[in-house]
């Protein structure tokens, strides 16, 4: 009796250990481990608070030059838009019948501007700008929107500190918000 109980307990222990191992170990285990260097090279995500912003800095003046050379053909000399989106203006229009949605009027987080320019702009040569250049272009676009002064130089800390006017303008999805009835006659 005692012996069999011990055996049972032992078996349970082994099972528990196996279960733990199964949880910790991959079932299939395909793929190879990603090294920190590989992850750092590919991970260009910048969060809304800018904690993942990279080192570097750029000024409004540098951004002005870069913008004229790399961005103005699509976005206009002063970010007024063209082939590309309008980037400037529209503050105070969101609650009107003709909202104008730009970086200045609509974008809630300044670090997102860095994230997007770095990954996707310019349209014909994405991921070609250095981090310093992305800071500079971001600074210029924010300056055009009156959100940083002409003299500004932005880095990880100062870009994250820029408070965007529409930061609190987003709400969660309330749908279903329309409640139609399946009326069949005399509708």
């Amino acid at each position: 009796m005692h012996t069999s109980r011990l055996k049972l307990a032992g078996a349970a222990l082994i099972l528990a250990a196996a279960a733990t191992a199964a949880y910790a170990q991959p079932k299939y285990g395909f793929g190879t481990a990603a090294t920190p260097a590989e992850i750092a090279a590919w991970n260009i995500d910048v969060d809304r608070d800018g904690k993942a912003l990279p080192p570097g800095k750029g000024s409004v003046a540098q951004g002005h030059e870069l913008f004229a050379a790399q961005c103005a053909a699509c976005h206009g000399e002063k970010g007024e838009g063209g082939i590309g989106d309008k980037l400037v203006g529209g503050q105070g229009t969101l609650a009107t019948p003709k909202p104008v949605k730009t970086v200045g009027s609509f974008w809630p987080y300044a670090p997102t501007l860095f994230d997007y320019i770095r990954r996707a702009m310019p349209l014909n040569a994405p991921q070609s700008l250095t981090n310093d250049e992305v800071y500079a272009v971001s600074a210029y676009i924010l300056n055009l929107n009156g959100l940083v002064p002409d003299s500004a130089t932005l880095d990880a800390k100062s870009l994250a500190a820029v408070k965007m006017p529409n930061r609190d303008g987003f709400v969660q999805d309330p749908r279903p918000d329309v409640h139609n009835k399946a009326c069949m006659s005399n509708c």
Binding site: G31, I44, L94, P176, M184
Partner: protein, 446 residues
Amino acid sequence: MPKANATGVLCEICLQENDVTSRQKDSVRESTRRQFIGAGSAMLGGAAIAAASGGKAAALDTPADPNGPPNIPAWMKAPGADAGELYGKPSPFEKKVVRNVPKNLKQYTSASTRTPLQELDGIITPNGIFYERHHGGVPEIDPAQHRLMIHGLVERPTIFTMDQIRRYPSESRIHFLECSGNPGFEAIYGKTASDLVGLTSCAEWTGVPLKLILDDVGLKPEAKWIVAEGADAAALTRSLPIEKCLEDAMLVYSQNGERLRPAQGYPLRVLVPGFEGNMNVKWVRRLHVTSEPAYSREETAKYTDSMPDGTARQFTFYMEAKSIITRPSGTQKIEKGFNEITGIAWTGHGKIAKVDISTDGGKTWQAAKLQEPVLTRALTRFRFPWVWDGKPTVIMSRATDETGYVQPSFEDLKAARGLKSFYHNNAMQPWKVAENGEVSNAHVKA
């Protein structure tokens, strides 16, 4: 018993058949039919058809069909094309069944093209005419060089090759995809079903349940979101809620039996069934497991729904129940008597439960027949027999899904959301039938 009359669509086919006749005669006379077919691309063939029919119309005095009885059709009198076309194409006479590409866009790198819904049957969209929406063009990716990296809040950050992804147990499922702006609230005046809701398509997808791979790399308890990134020039990123990733999300490598087309994310894409198209990240190369959404440009500046009070709804993932009559629909023409009304319905919230049809402008409704299979988060084909009395009217369809949600009118949506929300317009589509049988969009710009 209603008499089966030819619909406008059938008449168009008749015209095409006349084209065939002319083309056949010309081609047989000038060379051999096989040489003719072998010589030209579909486009050249189309041009030849137009030229031939134009010429013959004047030359032919007799209305008799030279390929109808008592004549033997020309295509029976000589062998057809050899077997061995390496990748088959549609008949050159189906030249209307192509993507609906908007004209005069500022650029086509970040753009969309539409499925010709009114030309299709059943629930599956052929791969060559699946709708497109790209943000940085269509990359040409060598699958041998493509890598998927999973990192962040996981036990084992891992890099996968395509061969390694394909070693996981896989499954095939039929799901629709729909772009969230389909159409925008201020773009409801299109002429055809494709102009209006052509950013909807449906396919059988094959891939690996994302849960299998996430279990393998080991999610940490704080994992709440997965930021998926495409390997395109937009490096497009969207944040996927972890619940959906563990429920029915897939990493897809095949579509309708063959490998994904480049325009659909070759060699690997995310599929989050029922969620807005943009979240089904194509060319996926990175899954960053996080505790918070990325708040990327595509989920702040874009793909958020602006309300009249100036706020914008964010993370509006699900596509709500929707339907449209594809035949008869805008630009088609019908004749008095029997006409089958058919169309498609779908919902991001599961299965379609019911589709009702009104043929009197919304005063009365009757249930359409849902054609099997009726699948979760897939297009459902509906059919309704109708005898048109020849009087002008308005026809429309209304979908109800398994949650009991009923597709709204555009007026109801507008009352709730205004006209600036752009995305997630799932309104009913009324079609006007004129006395002469011409069908047009009942929404007319004031």
